[in-house]
């Protein structure tokens, strides 16, 4: 659904995107991770048409990226109600009358907006504003949905309702590009992962594929001795060796498998 090839964008002498290539298939949730300044937001801006790339191509469903719809952070009218936001963005997306009413009812239900639908968003909490913002992006079932840190500062209820809505959209065939720093959300979503660094994708795959070869951590604590931690790709062998050398009664043993955080640290540097 999304095909980006060799996308380059410079701001003066600073290179924000340096030949970034990325494909996201229909029905796939792709997590885009990387440090601040890695190029995530710039890439989202290019894909949704806010920025024109200096080089490279971006296609959404084989065409210029007009089919993409983006949630690019909280951007709401403080004096308009949540319902008015949904009506505006629904109409701008081409929804009318019954189709608009049905789409609004669906996102209101999915993102738990009922209680504050007729309140001005300037009076809502940050989490409620997040939900309204996400609802405007989800409203009309775009073929490609771009989300730039949609849960930043959101409460657990907001996060869970949004992730559930995204899972449903992906199951319905939408391609979702999800830029975030919260790696556990990508695990919850079952997302594939693209790691960006200095404007390029330096790793791409499922979390299982990317975690292969990363060391586990073996932790052992015995009575009368300091805690021992060993990072190893052979946790069973390391544990056996540690147990052989343990001086006293064993108090605690733990093997922590590599996580997405470890992957992120190892790749994004």
């Amino acid at each position: 659904m999304l095909h980006a090839d060799g996308v380059t964008k410079r701001f003066g002498t600073a290179v924000a995107l340096d030949g970034l290539s990325l494909d996201v298939a229909a029905g796939e949730i792709a997590g885009l991770v990387g440090h601040n300044g890695a190029g995530k937001s710039t890439f989202v801006d290019v894909v949704c048409g806010l920025l024109r790339p200096d080089a490279g191509t971006v296609r959404v469903g084989g065409r210029a990226p007009s089919a993409a719809r983006a949630d690019i952070g909280v951007a709401l009218y403080p004096s308009a109600t949540a319902a008015e936001h949904l009506a505006l963005f629904g109409r701008l997306a081409g929804l009318r009358r019954h189709a608009l009413a049905a789409a609004v009812a669906e996102v209101v239900d999915a993102l738990l907006l009922t209680d504050f639908l007729d309140r001005r968003v300037g009076l809502l909490s940050g989490g409620q504003q997040r939900r309204v913002q996400a609802a405007t992006a989800l409203l009309h079932r775009p073929a490609l949905l771009l989300l730039d840190e949609p849960t930043a500062g959101a409460d657990p209820q907001t996060r869970e309702s949004l992730l559930a809505a995204l899972r449903r959209r992906a199951a319905d065939g939408a391609a979702i590009l999800y830029a975030t720093h919260y790696l556990h959300e990508l695990a919850d979503l079952g997302a594939t992962i693209a790691v960006a660094r200095r404007g390029r994708i330096i790793a791409r795959g499922t979390s299982a594929q990317l975690l292969v070869g990363l060391p586990s951590e073996v932790r052992l604590r015995a009575e009368g001795a300091d805690e021992v931690r060993v990072r190893t790709t052979d946790p069973a062998g390391a544990l056996t060796a540690l147990l052989d050398r343990a001086p006293g009664t064993l108090r605690e043993v733990d093997i922590r498998k590599p996580s997405l955080d470890d992957l992120y640290r190892s790749l994004a540097g």
């Binding site: 937001s41 710039t42 801006d45 949704c48 048409g49 806010l50 920025l51 024109r52 007009s66 993409a68 719809r69 983006a70 690019i72 952070g73 909280v74 951007a75 709401l76 009218y77 403080p78 004096s79 308009a80 008015e84 009506a87 505006l88 963005f89 109409r91 701008l92 997306a93 081409g94 009318r96 405007t136």
Partner: protein
């Protein structure tokens, strides 16, 4: 085409709702000139023939120019709230966004000027000379409002805060309106200042409105053409600044 019109209508309706919820500036720029017209009318009438028309059109030009801030605030708020970027990633094109955004503001400017002219005619006694003059006044108000709309959007496209916008509107409006003869007729200016008056859009607005009140077609349409040209230039600048693909809005 139909889809485009529906999007413009949706945006215009939304912006009209926002405008209706924040009427303070509009009321201020409506009531203040009415008060000043009433107070200054006897003075202007004693000072010169046509004093009533001068005070009504003068106050209209000053306060409609100050109302640039209404247009500017509406557009700048979109940049401050980042909603402009949010709108830019919808199906609506740049021209649709600007039309939907500015139509309600245009209506506000038309309403303000129509109300002030009506007040001027009924209370101050500055009446248009016949039905033709009424038609010309309608044209003049439409042209002046369009010019102000373009200038307000151009201003909002370059300033970086509401403070900057307020300062630019207040100082600019008073300077241009005064230089154009809205406060004191240009005939009473010192000789060295008089040649500078046509540099102000206020001068052309005042000439146009006063000629329209007299029913003078030629002297209405020439300034109207000057103002429309300036308005088109300002519009082109605003469209370019607000719609070009240069990433998310950043201010300050």
């Amino acid at each position: 085409m139909t889809d485009s019109l529906l999007r413009i209508a949706a945006l215009a309706r939304h912006n009209a709702v926002l405008r209706r919820r924040d009427p303070g500036q509009f009321l201020s720029y409506l009531v203040m000139p009415m008060l000043l017209m009433s107070v200054l009318a006897p003075v202007f009438r004693r000072a010169a023939a046509g004093g009533s028309a001068q005070v009504v059109t003068g106050m209209l030009v000053i306060y409609s120019t100050l109302a640039l801030s209404i247009v500017g605030t509406a557009t700048l708020a979109e940049r401050v709230w980042h909603t402009w970027d949010r709108l830019r990633v919808t199906r609506a094109g740049g021209a649709e966004l600007l039309l939907g955004k500015t139509l309600p503001a245009y209506a506000v400017l038309l309403l303000q000027q129509a109300a002030l002219l009506t007040y001027g005619a009924v209370v101050v006694g500055a009446r248009p000379h016949g039905p033709a003059a009424c038609g010309l006044l309608a044209v003049a108000v439409a042209v002046w409002s369009a010019t102000l709309l373009a200038a307000g959007n151009a201003l909002a496209a370059v300033v970086r805060s509401f403070g900057e916008l307020g300062a630019a509107c207040d100082i600019g409006a008073l300077a241009f309106a005064t230089l154009g003869g809205a406060l004191v007729p240009t005939s009473m200016f010192p000789a060295w200042l008089r040649p500078a008056a046509p540099a102000s859009p206020g001068y052309w607005a005042l000439s146009m409105l006063q000629a329209a009140m007299r029913g003078d077609v030629h002297r209405t349409l020439v300034p109207a053409a000057v103002l429309l040209t300036a308005g088109l230039a300002a519009s082109a600048f605003a469209v370019r600044r607000l719609t070009r693909p240069r990433g998310r809005t950043t201010l300050l």
